[in-house]
């Protein structure tokens, strides 16, 4: 069974907390004692989805590990806005090395922890490791190291905060940028404006193909689901991957207060399937609750503004809708539908 929704009639599963819930049903974020691993004073833009996603994820991991956590950060927005000398926003042991090596650095940290545990006579390290980065470091420059970490099944939880472009360098296209999106390197000019259709990688599926113990996707719009997945991942050993959808007001040209709404629409349209997989096999999907047309999602973002207005590209919007439909079919995102993608369970990993 996957995420168990809170049966609470007022807001239940959907809000961060609820004063009426028993302690065991409360989210980490609702607690006054949450770690605030990424503390105030960081320099992320107003409404930054990545800053939010990182605190959600790391606080949950801190909670799951009894605050025995080390984080390795790839170069990128998250690193730059959190640790400009002389101030750091992190409250946990944290290291930034390079753009493309966070998974490998994390492997090293995990190895050091394991040796220390063995010297202390423990079967495994109590101190756990998370590596994190944006979509650029994950899907592009760091994919080699990520794949290596997966393949060796190193005891690392890798978290990708996917905002679908190189935001730190000024919004350039990455292999996670959606088609038609305007970026600084895929301008909305010419006959086919924006990013090219038919490109890009699906790193969650690539991760699944490694047969690692756990792969999940999540969004900042569903905190409880995200916390559940981080907590579950932290209860496991070996290589684990969580891909979190984090809107970027700056890069997407969205209102700073729409960050969560856009993430919610990404899931409810079917454009971003939210699921979890174990050993390559999809074991749960988050069903669409209130299905929305892709247009509702696209309209809120200026990076898609060229699809609307006088020279509206209904054909392109329709292609997006087809992408959503395909996700809905593949992952069985509607009630009563079944998953049709994924791999057979990798028995040798268990």
């Amino acid at each position: 069974m996957g995420f168990q929704p809170i049966k609470f009639y007022q807001t239940g599963t959907f809000t961060v907390g609820n004063r009426l819930l028993p302690p065991e049903q409360r989210s980490v974020q609702s607690g006054m004692e949450r770690a605030n691993a990424l503390n105030s004073g960081h320099r992320a833009c107003q409404g930054c989805g990545e800053a939010l996603g990182a605190r959600y994820a790391i606080d949950a991991a801190m909670n799951a590990s009894g605050n025995k956590l080390i984080a390795v950060n790839a170069t990128g927005c998250l690193e730059v806005f959190s640790t400009p000398y002389p101030e750091t926003s992190w409250q946990i042991p944290w290291i930034h090395s390079l753009f493309g090596n966070a998974p490998a650095v994390a492997t090293g940290v995990a190895a050091a922890n394991r040796v220390r545990a063995r010297k202390a006579g423990l079967p495994d390290s109590e101190v756990r490791v998370i590596a994190q980065g944006g979509d650029g470091s994950t899907t592009d420059i760091g994919l080699g190291c990520l794949s290596g970490m997966f393949e060796r099944n190193d005891d690392v939880l890798y978290i990708c905060y996917d905002n679908q472009a190189y935001m730190n360098t000024g919004v350039q296209r990455s292999s996670a940028t959606p088609p038609a999106a305007r970026t600084a390197t895929t301008m909305p000019v010419g006959p086919e404006p924006g990013n090219t259709f038919g490109q890009g990688k699906n790193v969650p599926m690539i991760a699944m193909a490694h047969g690692i113990p756990y792969v999940a996707t999540a969004t900042v719009a569903d905190l409880r689901d995200l916390e559940y997945k981080v907590t579950k991942a932290m209860s496991m050993r070996g290589a684990r991957y969580i891909h979190i959808f984090v809107p970027c007001p700056l890069g997407w040209g969205s209102a700073s207060n729409d960050t969560i709404k856009i993430a919610r629409l990404a899931k409810e349209t079917g454009l971003f399937p939210v699921f979890e997989a174990e050993y390559g096999e999809v074991v749960n999907v988050s069903k669409i609750r209130q299905r929305q047309p892709v247009e509702d999602y696209l309209r809120l973002q200026r990076r898609f503004a060229h699809l609307f207005g006088k020279k509206a590209r209904l054909d392109v919007i329709e292609r997006f809708q087809q992408m959503a439909e395909q996700n809905i079919r593949n992952f069985g995102l509607l009630a009563d539908e079944k998953v049709t993608v994924g791999f057979r369970s990798s028995e040798h990993r268990k």
């Binding site: 690193e79 090395s97 390079l98 490998a104 994390a106 090293g108 080699g144 190291c145 290596g148 060796r152």
Partner: protein
């Protein structure tokens, strides 16, 4: 314990005696036998409490090393040539973060053209990377330098490269005195990191530093290398006290007293040079040799003192800076600033070319008579070069240089 063994094996044993906690490696010739040896020691259980990680690239190898070192583990890796270049970004990062990783560089040429044989182009390409670079003359010294490197790096919080000539040393069977574990333990205390990723005392390592402090950070890196100038001889003496043999240090003078001509070199070629000098001394020629063990930091004061009586210096280098010439020679000139001495650069042994005693005799004698041009390439086949240059002048698309030269070499052999 004396052992007749391959150089790589001796290094594996020395590394294991240093009790590393994390070893990671990606295979590249001629480094392979070293990490294979360490891997076997870990797998067999001979080296306890050590994680051996087979990574997917040299970039990952150095990155894993960064992670484990930052998490407080004594960390070792090894590479060579293209592998060293592939990890360059991480190499600079490791020194910038002050992580005392020890890495063997089994020196090998850089391509293209691809070449697996020895020269110093790989290490020299990293002379500015902020690592300490120690060059071993023999397998005994290479083994000893690894043990010293951990102590040195950890005391300074700086990474150390131990450079040893690929194949010439790594694959050579020699007699090596493998130290006893107790003595190594007495010499090398457990790693006590200056900074560590520790949940009970969290810090943020690897901040972004802007113009307001970047120069200071860089100067402090330089200051640390200057501290190493003091520390390297100290550690060498401590090593001698425990193990009873001289190993390491900044420089290694040989027949230097009153030598009019002094040859400077790094690594295993010092052996051939010493043999040549012995022969020349027998002929009454006033010549000596200065081995540079510590290339980074470059021991300017020690070199200047050692060369103060020399009239001329021949720097024999297994690499060169294309477009200007000697790399080591440039540093030597810095050391001798203001002194009136002739300094010759002899580039030799590139891509595994043999450096023969007869060639050395010839070139040293030319130097003695000041008949050597400032930048000399030892045993260069000028007929091939001139033909190729002619061809290029004649035809724009004259074909690949390497292929042309190989054809010329074959033709020369037939003619010969």
């Amino acid at each position: 314990m004396l052992k007749q063994c391959e150089g790589s094996h001796a290094i594996a044993e020395a590394v294991a005696l240093s009790r590393p906690e994390v070893v990671c490696a990606y295979p590249i010739s001629p480094q392979t036998h070293i990490v294979e040896g360490v891997g076997e020691l870990v797998k067999s259980g001979a080296l306890k409490d050590c994680e051996f990680i087979n990574v997917e690239s040299e970039f990952a190898a150095m990155s894993v090393a960064i992670g484990s070192s930052a998490a407080g583990a004594r960390t070792y890796t090894a590479t060579a040539s293209q592998g060293l270049l592939f990890m360059v970004e991480a190499i600079y990062n490791a020194s910038g973060l002050g992580l005392p990783i020890v890495m063997t560089v089994a020196n090998r040429a850089l391509g293209a053209p691809i070449n697996i044989w020895n020269d110093h182009s790989d290490s020299m390409s990293q002379r500015d990377c902020g690592w300490i670079q120690l060059f071993a003359e023999t397998n005994q010294e290479a083994a000893d330098l690894h043990i010293q490197a951990f102590k040195l790096g950890e005391e300074l919080s700086l990474p150390v490269m131990v450079c040893m000539d690929g194949f010439i040393l790594t694959h050579a069977y020699e007699r090596v005195d493998i130290p006893e574990q107790e003595k190594v333990d007495a010499f090398l205390p457990p790693y006590s990191p200056r900074q560590v990723l520790d949940p009970t005392n969290p810090v943020s390592i690897g901040a972004m530093v802007g113009p307001e402090a970047f120069s200071e950070v860089r100067y402090l890196a330089h200051a640390k290398q200057m501290q190493a100038i003091e520390l390297i001889p100290k550690i060498s003496r401590e090593f001698q006290d425990i193990f009873g043999r001289e190993s390491g240090g900044l420089i290694r003078p040989y027949m230097l007293d009153d030598a009019e001509t002094v040859v400077i070199a790094l690594g295993s070629v010092l052996g051939t040079i010493k043999d040549t000098i012995d022969e020349m001394r027998a002929d009454g020629i006033s010549i000596g040799v200065l081995g540079i063990t510590s290339f980074r930091p470059f021991p300017i004061t020690a070199v200047r003192r050692a060369l103060s009586h020399a009239r001329r210096i021949v720097v024999l280098e297994k690499s060169f800076a294309v477009g200007i010439g000697g790399i080591v020679a440039t540093d030597v000139r810095m050391a001798l600033d203001g002194l009136d001495q002739r300094i010759y650069t002899v580039v030799a042994g590139l891509g595994g070319r043999n450096i023969t005693r007869s060639s050395l005799h010839r070139v040293f004698r030319m130097a003695m008579h000041d008949q050597l041009e400032p930048l000399h390439f030892l045993d260069l086949e000028w007929s091939i070069i001139n033909r190729e240059l002619d061809r290029e002048r004649a035809t724009r698309r004259s074909g690949p240089i390497a292929e042309n030269i190989l054809r010329d070499v074959a033709n020369a052999a037939k003619i010969g």
